[in-house]
């Protein structure tokens, strides 16, 4: 049966000459999207999850406050502390911190400053409400409880 000739063996190897290009593309993607973490977080961050999340539109208007037990309990004790940028601050310093964060923004946008609170789940509401009171005093009334998305349910 000469009609059914055996097919010529196909080439087995995948051309890899485009591999570096693909990798470079991935690389550039990550380089562009990366925001290098500006400061190390010195408090435990086991943030409770929630489902009804909203997204913030302007990232430049957001300032983060981290609340939780210090990681280095030998040095800082195990009472929850507030971290702003890379230092621990006390509740009474929040007003000053807000002013500092505001001064970084454009004048027209200063009243739109949003504070994102990243708090550990074991923090008590006493501290949280003290923080909220200080924010109210400083007239920084846009607050967000920053939480990850809960998948189940």
């Amino acid at each position: 049966m000469a009609k059914f000739k055996k097919k010529a063996k196909a080439k087995q190897d995948i051309p890899t000459s485009a591999l570096p290009d693909i990798i470079f593309m991935l690389l550039f993607f990550f380089m562009v999207t990366t925001v290098l973490r500006e400061n190390t977080i010195n408090v435990l961050q086991n943030i409770p999850k929630a489902t009804e999340l909203r997204k913030l539109q302007r990232k430049s208007l957001v300032s983060y406050l981290y609340v939780g037990k210090p990681r280095n309990t030998a040095k800082f004790g195990d009472e929850p502390k507030i971290q702003a940028n890379d230092v621990f601050i006390e509740v009474r310093d929040i007003g000053q911190w807000i002013e500092k964060e505001r001064s970084k923004l454009d004048e027209v946008e200063r009243d739109q400053l949003t504070v994102a609170l990243k708090s550990d789940k074991d923090v008590k509401m006493g501290l949280i409400s003290d923080i909220q009171m200080e924010l109210r005093k400083a007239n920084a009334r846009k607050l967000m409880y920053s939480t990850p998305q809960r998948i189940d349910k």
Binding site: T16, L27, V35, A50, L53, K124, M125, Y145, T147
Partner: protein
């Protein structure tokens, strides 16, 4: 200095992929995809900045949620442990329109009040607050004829005129009034 011998001018590029891989892995590891999502909240002005007024709000227009220091819940004077029913209860409360004498007069007057204790954990508070906001988002989403998820997307981006129109229409007459009372000083 001796000139090097003129050889082939090609650079060996086979290790290019490896170099790129290394860089890629570096960026993969250091990347923190910033999450800018969360539960939003507008705080009221500081008590010293506003005139103190004693406003009498009828009992029926307040949906009371109390959380004590051991994270136990009391909703409308009844103990409750499971938060999953809370959402339906709030929806019923807000959209009552004066039918049930124990629930709100109208959505405009309805207030959901959350009161915590200083010893309440943040986790429990978030759990409850999530349900309360969720109930309102459900109401709005239903009025706008979209899903809850889509609604939150619309509400997050009201600079778009189309979104703004939907947003305002759905919220008309049903303001989200969630009061977060200051916790008691004494923990029990």
């Amino acid at each position: 200095m001796a000139r090097s011998k003129r050889g082939t001018t090609e650079i060996n590029s086979s290790s290019m992929a490896d170099i790129a891989f290394l860089l890629l892995i570096f960026f993969l590891v250091t990347t923190t995809i910033a999450n800018d999502k969360g539960l939003t909240l507008a705080l009221p002005p500081h008590p010293d900045d506003v005139e103190q007024q004693d406003i009498k709000i009828p009992e029926r227009n307040i949906f009371k949620i109390l959380i004590n220091s051991s994270d136990r819940l009391m909703v409308e004077n009844q103990e409750m442990q499971d938060v999953s029913r809370l959402r339906e209860m709030i929806k019923e409360f807000v959209l009552n329109n004066g039918v049930d004498p124990n629930l709100s007069d109208s959505p405009e007057k309805a207030i959901v009040s959350i009161k915590t204790n200083r010893g309440t954990s943040y986790e429990r508070f978030i759990e409850v607050y999530n349900e309360v906001q969720g109930a309102y988002y459900d109401i709005y989403a239903e009025r706008a004829g979209v899903t809850n998820e889509k609604w939150r997307e619309i509400a997050s981006n009201t600079s778009d005129p189309d979104n703004k129109r939907i947003y305002e229409k759905a919220r008309e007459g049903i303001p989200m009034q969630i009061s977060i009372a200051e916790p008691n000083k004494v923990s029990n």
